[in-house]
């Protein structure tokens, strides 16, 4: 009977049972053994592996000083002498996903041991880390915790044992864009003709290489005469009139609001609030300008630095909002702005 494989689990402040958004600025700490969902992971990993320690860091703390925080977390992880690391799962939480990705990347590069994170495929961290880290695809919410833990545990054990890792479909990780060569039964020419015939007949076929989608927009030329330009304000930070009359959801927003600010110079804690459920609302509620800078933009308008502030602002909540939704909101907003001659937009996000 060999010694148990030592593992360390990384969690954010919420899953690490320190607190919610109000504790998102907690610095890196450690606790021996498994914490929170770590208990589930330990059960699934069984007797072969022992989660000897859990390292926890606040999502804001990490994202506001990524390099320094990665170093500090890495140090705490190293202190346990682990042979494998698990991070998250972060589901659709962007800041948490970024922390998990950054840490796993550093663990693999610097400690040379396998590290596996879990997150929803639309998590913004996926684009940043999928090539360098095994990211197990999870559901968008904690309903997928058990499924995520099973897949993450299975994959990290394979890596720790040095077993060959199969395709993304087999193992449940997000495709990394890595090509593995193999000898096919038929020549490329034969396979290409076969695929073409299927395509022509309208039969299903599987591409051997999905074409990458480079969805980038070429930067527009700069605004020429700002002093004559009409500028519009948009925020994904959820600043809405008090009472959230349009009932914009605090997470996974299905809509945006368009609010009349004609003649309005200032937002107050009585007139406005934040509907966003993904950050500590205290500061935004005390002064909504901290997320939607109306006061300053009105001053600049008065001084002639900009021509005019568009008399409506747009707000939605960018917490777990799908890319598809954001795209739809933007299309609709753009129609208004084009019709009304808006020349530039400032978007503020938390």
């Amino acid at each position: 009977m060999g010694a148990r494989i030592k593992a360390v689990h990384y969690l954010n402040q919420f899953f690490g049972q320190i607190g919610g958004e109000d504790k998102a600025d907690t610095g890196p700490t450690r606790r021996d053994g498994a914490v929170g969902p770590g208990a589930l992971f330990q059960r699934i990993l069984g007797s072969e592996v022992e989660i000897v320690g859990t390292v926890i860091c606040g999502d804001n703390y990490f994202n506001e000083r990524m390099e320094q925080a990665t170093e500090a977390v890495l140090s705490l992880i190293e202190g346990y002498g682990p042979e494998l690391v698990l991070a998250g799962p972060a589901f659709n939480a962007g800041r948490y996903g970024i922390a998990c990705g950054s840490i796993c990347e550093a663990v693999e590069r610097r400690l040379g041991i396998p590290a596996v994170a879990g997150m929803f495929p639309e998590n913004p961290a996926v684009e940043l880390y999928k090539k360098s880290v095994y990211l197990v695809g999870t559901q968008a919410t904690t309903l997928g915790m058990k499924d995520a833990a099973q897949k993450m545990a299975r994959l990290v054990l394979k890596l720790a044992r040095g077993e060959p890792v199969g395709s993304p479909e087999e193992e449940g990780y997000i495709p990394r864009g890595i090509r593995k060569n193999y000898f096919a039964g038929e020549t490329g020419a034969a396979r290409a003709v076969e695929m073409l015939l299927r395509k022509i007949k309208g039969e299903p076929f599987i591409t051997e290489y999905p074409m990458p989608i480079f969805d980038r927009v070429a930067p527009l030329p700069p605004v020429d005469r700002l002093g004559e330009a009409t500028i519009a304000l948009i925020t994904s930070g959820g600043i809405v009139p008090m009472g959230n009359p349009d009932r914009i959801e605090s997470s996974s927003a299905s809509k945006f609001g368009r609010y009349d600010i004609g003649g309005v110079d200032r937002l107050t804690p009585e007139s406005h609030e934040t509907a966003h459920g993904g950050y500590d609302p205290t500061y935004a509620n005390a002064d909504p300008h901290r997320v939607l800078p109306l006061d300053v933009v009105r001053d600049l308008e008065r001084e002639g630095v900009i021509g005019k502030l568009y008399p409506y602002y747009y707000a939605t909540v960018g917490n777990g909002t799908s890319v598809a939704s954001a795209r739809t909101f933007a299309h609709e907003i753009a129609k208004d702005l084009i019709r009304d001659g808006v020349q530039a937009v400032i978007i503020s996000s938390t």
Binding site: N60, E64, Y283, P293, L300, I346, S349, T350
Partner: protein
């Protein structure tokens, strides 16, 4: 949203706290904000200092709108 509005033909600047997310999703003009719960504020400062800070950030955003760029650009600290 920044990318889609730019695609529709209106130059857009994104003042945001998590620059890597903005870059990944594809905003072209990006201005780093102060912190996640208060991107355009700082509760540790006085109201006047906060407003001055906010104004400097918005002015930087306006400068970004007025700057010709070749690809994505993060308009860092001065």
């Amino acid at each position: 949203m920044a990318k889609e509005i730019e695609r529709a033909g209106i130059p857009t600047v994104h003042i945001c706290s998590i620059v890597p997310i903005s870059k990944t999703v594809g905003a072209n003009r990006i201005v780093p904000a102060i912190a996640i719960p208060h991107p355009l504020g700082d509760p540790s400062k006085s109201k006047e200092e906060e407003k001055a800070l906010r104004r400097r950030l918005v002015e930087k955003a306006l400068r970004a709108l007025g700057t010709k760029i070749e690809g994505q650009k993060v308009f860092e600290e001065d």
